[in-house]
Symmetry: C2
Subunit: 332 residues, 2 copies
């Protein structure tokens, strides 16, 4: 990703106060999602689990929080230029809906390989879709073209302080609903949700242990934090289609400062956790969300007997792909 | 079903007051389940939908309400004799859990054809399972044997006033959460949930229109009400595995008195509605629950512009059976 693309939005590190401001800003538009419990899963995990149900958020994912905060932070003059983003998934739908609510247009640069259901969701919220190739260079090139042609405002999926602050509002609500949690577990991809969670949680209680959940097949964030260098350029291989991005220049330092650890699991563990959530909690979650439970079950010594919050980040999944997904779980 | 089996429990018709008493009795044990909305489904249906999420009830189905009310209505002396029922599904699990909570034992007579996951759920709550053959005569014979041997107390799946009153508590909660609904739609099988809904709703507002939702392949309740005779002895053929029973002697007259209509849909419509609920609401429901939305979509002229409550009756489904279920939806 070229530097000018990454730095296009304001690049100041957001604070806990920014998360509080985001909560007030998005309140008229976003759902306060429920926090759910499950006796059965508590028994299986050997700890007390509090699930923040962002699969029940608008557009079916936490992404609406960040997109909404970013777009409603803009001036009327900026908004009038239209919103531009690149996304092959939930962020594109989130930007499309938030732009519509703000009364402006959105253009989403999306790889031709994007699943039809996700393109349909983006188009369903009224956004224009501009196709690109799958490789990052093509995405950035086409995004830069669109920005130049339209004069629009970029809302990056995660490397944007307003997006990070918006994503943090999920953890704010979780801790308001379940005060005194010992630990939070959140999926990590580009790090928008996880860094927002860091700012939200440690502003309330610096003693809360914060964990990222990452697939073995996309372990760049884990390896970045262990090596002390932000790793880029790897090819991700995981069923967690929402967790294939790399950390950004804004999110990486926040994670370095706040995070206890990034915990890894393989895809079979993710699928097993997904099945547990569907079967025991009756909630449709996507693999990228189920990974939070997967790491708690795979690293149970870290969580035994403790009160743990998990962010179920989204529920957008192609039901026709389930047989293949479940086969992944069995073959490994 | 032999008369002595049907009449084993008290056979007085329950009242609205019995539903209120049931609500108080089960309050320490049952969940007050959420009522959920969906902008997307309102737009698709052309009316205002309020979904009572009994898939989030304990044991994953409304059945816990009736079983709990019946078992907590018993005297200590009766309870000490143990509970007996026959079930191939959610009622068996509900009786098993309610019996355990009351500190007694349960015996569930279940056909050998019962899916392993459902047997595992029943056994998981500590009940003894006694196998029988699939045909009703075998179920009744084995149940009678178990009753004779154990001296236990029968809790019938639906033809029991305490069970009916317990099931009615779901509609009480729905109407407390969404006052002034114009209509309620509830699945119908043996009629326990639907007749309890009748007593609950018309005790609050006699003008509420009450509808049953029934599969074309198990339309005995529809045909019974149209012919004026309770039909028995048919073989059901539907993907709604919870809707294959026939009306009971207690439930049939309640439906005759209160019901506006029983609406029919085919299995393809049920599967399409199930997919909508999974995809748009992110809720795992079983086919027998999705049928409520299916009838609203299939009979939309009856509901256009109105405020409609639907009971999502349960969420217990074998995920490995999904490809076959979805194929049903496509082939018809």
């Amino acid at each position: 990703m070229p530097e000018d693309f990454e730095k296009a939005p304001a690049n100041a590190t957001p604070s806990h106060a920014d998360v509080l401001a985001a909560a007030a800003r998005i309140a008229p538009h976003a759902h306060v999602t429920p926090v759910m419990r499950s006796r059965a899963l508590d028994a299986i995990a050997g700890c007390e689990l509090h699930f923040k149900c962002e699969n029940l958020q608008r557009v079916g994912a936490f992404k609406f929080r960040g997109a909404c905060n970013a777009i409603f932070s803009l001036s009327d003059a900026e908004v009038a230029r239209g919103i531009v983003t690149q996304s092959s998934g939930n962020h594109g739908a989130a930007v499309a809906l938030a732009a519509r609510l703000r009364g402006t247009t959105a253009t989403v640069v999306a790889p031709r390989s994007t699943p039809k259901v996700k393109l349909a969701a983006i188009a369903g919220y009224g956004a224009r879709i501009v196709p690109c190739e799958h490789r990052q260079a093509s995405r950035d090139e086409v995004t830069a073209q669109v920005l130049a042609e339209t004069g629009g405002v970029l809302v990056h999926p995660f490397n944007d302080p307003r997006v990070i602050a918006g994503q943090g509002t999920a953890a704010l609500e979780l801790l308001a609903s379940a005060p005194g949690l010992d630990a939070l577990v959140t999926p990590v991809s580009g790090g928008g949700l996880l860094s927002g969670t860091c700012l939200a949680a440690h502003g309330i209680d610096p003693a809360i242990e914060l964990f990222g959940a990452e697939p073995e097949g996309a372990r760049d964030a884990h390896d970045s934090l262990h090596s002390g260098t932000r790793i880029t350029g790897r090819v991700a291989d995981t069923v967690c289609d929402g967790l294939r991005s790399e950390l950004g220049t804004l999110t990486y330092p926040i994670l370095r400062e706040h995070l206890r650890e990034i915990l890894l699991v393989d895809d079979a563990a993710v699928v097993a956790a997904l099945r547990l959530i569907w079967e025991r909690m009756k909630l449709v979650v996507e693999p990228s969300a189920a990974i939070a439970l997967a790491v708690v079950l795979a690293h149970r010594e870290r969580f035994a007997g403790r009160r743990v919050g998990l962010v179920l980040s989204g529920g957008n999944i192609d039901l026709d792909g389930l047989p293949a997904l479940f086969a992944t779980g069995r073959s490994e």
